[in-house]
């Protein structure tokens, strides 16, 4: 029995070790560059980091990222000045764009299509509209020099709060020992990414893995009712109004980038009635014959990102006329 246990443990350790080597050699794991909150209270990445982001368990999507001196994934540094034409593209992971080589990002594709423009991509996974408004406000000196601002608004997720508070909890959690272990053991990072350690996570979160049967009974009849939708819309619009009043919103140079299929008509009406411009990429996505999102998650794939770049390039050309 002792031989059996010792040999089994030894084999398991050796196999795990070899798997760790394989996962590292073939770079099956994804990297998440470290985050921090700067002196202006803006959440961003620690500058000057290069690495690879991977999606899917067989390296289905593999791309290189570069965190610039400003702390964002971009092919260029951000140096706004009065004698250049700059556009800021602000948003969450969709704009951060770890799903495409940084050298071929949405910003780079826009620059290839529109002459004499510099695109600054302020993308950060986890940003909502409050983050974005606060960023513009916190870096107002830079943004005074930037000619166009595009804010990516995911209506269903981004208008949950009326005021910005830096997410210190997330930064603390990501720098905790558990997460450090996960990031350093690449096999664990990989397993976590493909969902194989999900039951363990659930177990650690209080034994949920053992009892999920009650989930099916948790329904809310109000959820899809018109009254509930109206209530949610009202709240989101109120949050939006509060945020633009609190942090300022230069209507002459700021536009929202949104998908009208996932945005309520009430909000779109509100924008039109209040002179808030928006760029709707829904028609381009709807008419696309190729898939626009990745297999493994809902992020835009390379083709979807090229459609966004084209939409924004067309918009810029129009604006520059």
């Amino acid at each position: 029995m002792r031989k059996f246990i010792l040999k089994s443990v030894l084999y398991i350790l050796l196999i795990l070790l070899l798997l760790e080597v394989i996962v590292r050699v073939f770079h099956l794991y994804t990297e998440d560059p470290p985050r921090f909150i700067d002196k202006y209270g803006v959440e961003k990445r620690i500058p000057d980091h290069d690495g690879y982001a991977v999606t899917g368990n067989r390296n289905q999507n593999f791309s290189k990222f570069h965190i610039n001196k400003a702390g964002f994934n971009s092919f260029r540094e951000f140096n706004p000045s009065a004698d250049k034409f700059e556009m800021a593209l602000i948003g969450d992971s969709f704009i951060e764009g770890f799903h495409q080589d940084f050298s071929n990002s949405i910003g780079k594709q826009i620059e290839n299509k529109v002459k004499d423009v510099e695109v600054y991509e302020y993308g950060y996974a986890g940003y909502d509209f409050a983050n974005q408004m606060h960023l513009v406000y916190a870096y107002h000196k830079d943004f005074q020099l930037i000619d166009k601002i595009v804010l990516y608004l995911n209506y269903e997720n981004d208008l949950g709060r009326a005021e910005y508070e830096p997410n210190k909890g997330r930064i603390k959690m990501l720098s905790s020992t558990v997460f450090k272990i996960r990031d350093n053991i690449k096999l664990l990072a990989y397993g976590s990414k493909i969902g194989i350690v999900e039951p363990l996570k659930k177990l650690a979160q209080g034994g949920i893995a053992f009892n999920e049967t009650d989930k099916a009974y948790k329904t809310n009849e109000l959820k899809d009712s018109e009254a509930e939708k109206l209530k949610i819309d009202k709240q989101r619009i109120a949050n939006f109004k509060n945020l633009i009043e609190l942090y300022g919103f230069d209507k002459s140079k700021t536009s929202l980038l949104l998908d009208s299929r996932k945005t309520s008509d009430r909000f779109l009406d509100f924008c039109r009635n209040n002179g808030i411009k928006y760029i709707d990429f829904a028609p381009k996505f709807e008419n696309s014959k190729k898939p626009t999102t990745l297999i493994y998650d809902h992020h835009w794939n390379a083709y979807g990102r090229s459609l966004i770049a084209k939409e924004l390039a067309d918009y810029l050309k129009e604006q520059k006329k």
């Binding site: 084999y11 368990n57 067989r58 177990l203 297999i295």
Partner: protein
């Protein structure tokens, strides 16, 4: 509890430690632990159905004693045998076939012009594994009746035999002469047996998680949307289903046999590389062996087997295949599937070739198979795969529509994975799996039979790596045969 769940990953070592370290000294307490563990394992799904297992255990234990006591009085012994058969088939009939028979009766009456509506069909949940454990307990009664076995006087041993958790829900369907004897005997931990068990468990997980689960979304897509696909895709779909169902069921069996080995118990083999069968008779000697031998011992031979007139032999063959089809599920598709196999088996039987491959494998003494063997294997695979259209389709009409669609749209188009994955990965996977199974074709109980420890170590790593590479979070991980 599913083998491929975190629950089992925790359950197995806990039971293993209790079994070998805490309750090692007393066979009775060890068997009691087997019962408790098995009831926990089964009750994880739905504890209410434990009553059925317990009742079936009590009844067959008692009936076994009565049959033995009345051995000299054939009529009484037969009466008690019928009590066992009647009860177990009654359970099956109620939980599995009640609605099927009621619906079929109503459809037939309606076809005769009388319009009646069903008011008798019930909302019944099929208890997991009922077809397996009822057959196992019936075999106990049969063996006593045919004087092949003496009944056990130890109820705990008998209950452990009925509920032994590794094979409780999807077999192998054990005979008391094999399993009960082992349960009645003091088990000794043997290093070779335990390591061989771990290897089988690993191989079983590979077959389930990599082969079956990664092919499942493709097969589901093709069988659901068959009307939109050309013949090439439909043929691909049913061929991949052959691999899926094999990976799923034989994977379960490997895990079951491997787990039993960890507890010092040897279960019978259930699969012997059926994809390399050279005719349909050999296929049935290699596929779901515990069920086909069950039918052979307790139905075919009592009916006279092949020792009666040719016509009666053919009837006997037809009966066991039709019943085997019905055993799989309460649907005419399974009966039809059984009928196809009967039709395929009968010519082989008439030519006297039903036992020619009983004791050897393809390319028995050579590295490569002969051209004849390759053609035989391909033909058998084709025929078995064709029958699986009925096995997989939800109804007879959709099975026929599926076949019609192959004929009507006989063209080729490259198939795109429903989730957008690269199909090449799956073709390569199936090809490598087939080649590897060919290499190990002589010993189904030792999937890593290579002399060099380094080669074995690399293979273990490769198998675990492939589980990681093909793991799909969104796939329904239940086993196909649980529904039977």
């Amino acid at each position: 509890m599913l083998f491929n769940s975190l629950d089992f990953l925790i359950f197995l070592p806990v039971v293993f430690i209790l079994y070998w370290f805490v309750f090692k000294k007393s066979l009775k307490i060890q068997n009691l632990l087997v019962i408790v563990a098995s009831y926990v394992f089964y009750g994880w799904w739905d504890w209410r159905f434990l009553v059925l297992i317990f009742f079936s255990t009590v009844l067959d234990f008692f009936v076994g004693q009565q049959i033995f006591k009345n051995q000299d009085n054939k009529q009484k012994a037969r009466y008690w045998l019928w009590v066992s058969v009647g009860f177990n088939l009654g359970l099956l009939g109620f939980f599995k076939y009640f609605n099927f028979f009621v619906d079929s009766f109503i459809e037939s009456v309606n076809a005769l012009g009388y319009n009646i509506k069903s008011v008798w069909t019930l909302r019944i949940i099929l208890p997991v594994g009922i077809s397996f454990y009822t057959f196992q307990t019936m075999s106990y009664s049969f063996d006593i009746y045919y004087k092949k076995l003496k009944p056990t006087k130890n109820f705990i041993s008998f209950a452990a035999f009925v509920a032994f958790f590794p094979q409780l829900v999807a077999g192998p369907i054990e005979r008391a002469s094999n399993l009960l004897d082992q349960i009645n005997t003091r088990r000794i931990f043997r290093y070779e047996q335990a390591t061989s068990g771990l290897k089988l468990i690993l191989w079983g997980f590979f077959k389930k998680l990599v082969i079956a689960d990664s092919l499942a979304p493709i097969v589901d897509d093709i069988f659901t949307n068959y009307a939109d696909y050309p013949a090439s895709t439909l043929i691909l779909g049913v061929s991949l289903f052959s691999f899926q169902v094999y990976g799923d069921f034989s994977g379960y069996t490997d895990i079951a046999i491997g787990t039993a080995k960890l507890f010092g118990v040897e279960l019978m083999s259930n699969f012997k590389f059926p994809n390399f069968s050279r005719n349909i008779a050999e296929y049935w000697q290699r596929w779901h062996i515990s069920l086909s031998t069950w039918f052979r011992h307790y139905l075919y031979i009592p009916m006279g087997g092949s020792r009666v007139s040719k016509l009666k032999s053919l009837r006997n063959i037809a009966v066991i295949f039709l019943v085997s089809g019905l055993w799989h599920g309460a649907n005419w598709t399974f009966v039809f599937w059984g009928a196809i196999h009967a039709l395929l088996y009968i010519p082989v039987f008439l030519m006297g070739r039903n036992r020619v491959y009983a004791n050897n494998v393809i390319a028995e003494k050579t590295w490569f198979p002969s051209i004849t063997e390759i053609l035989q294997v391909l033909l058998t695979f084709f025929l078995v795969t064709f029958s699986r259209i009925f096995f997989r389709s939800p109804s007879l009409s959709s099975s026929f529509d599926f076949i019609k669609q192959i004929g009507n749209n006989f063209s080729y188009e490259p198939y795109m994975h429903p989730m957008g994955y690269r199909m090449f990965d799956f073709y390569l996977l199936v090809a490598l799996f087939t080649v590897y199974e060919y290499l190990i074709r002589k010993d189904e109980r030792n999937p890593f039979k290579f002399g060099s420890p380094l080669v074995r170590f690399l293979l273990y790593t490769l198998v675990i790596l492939s589980i990681l590479l093909f793991y799909d979070d969104g796939v329904n991980r239940s086993f196909i045969y649980f529904q039977f």
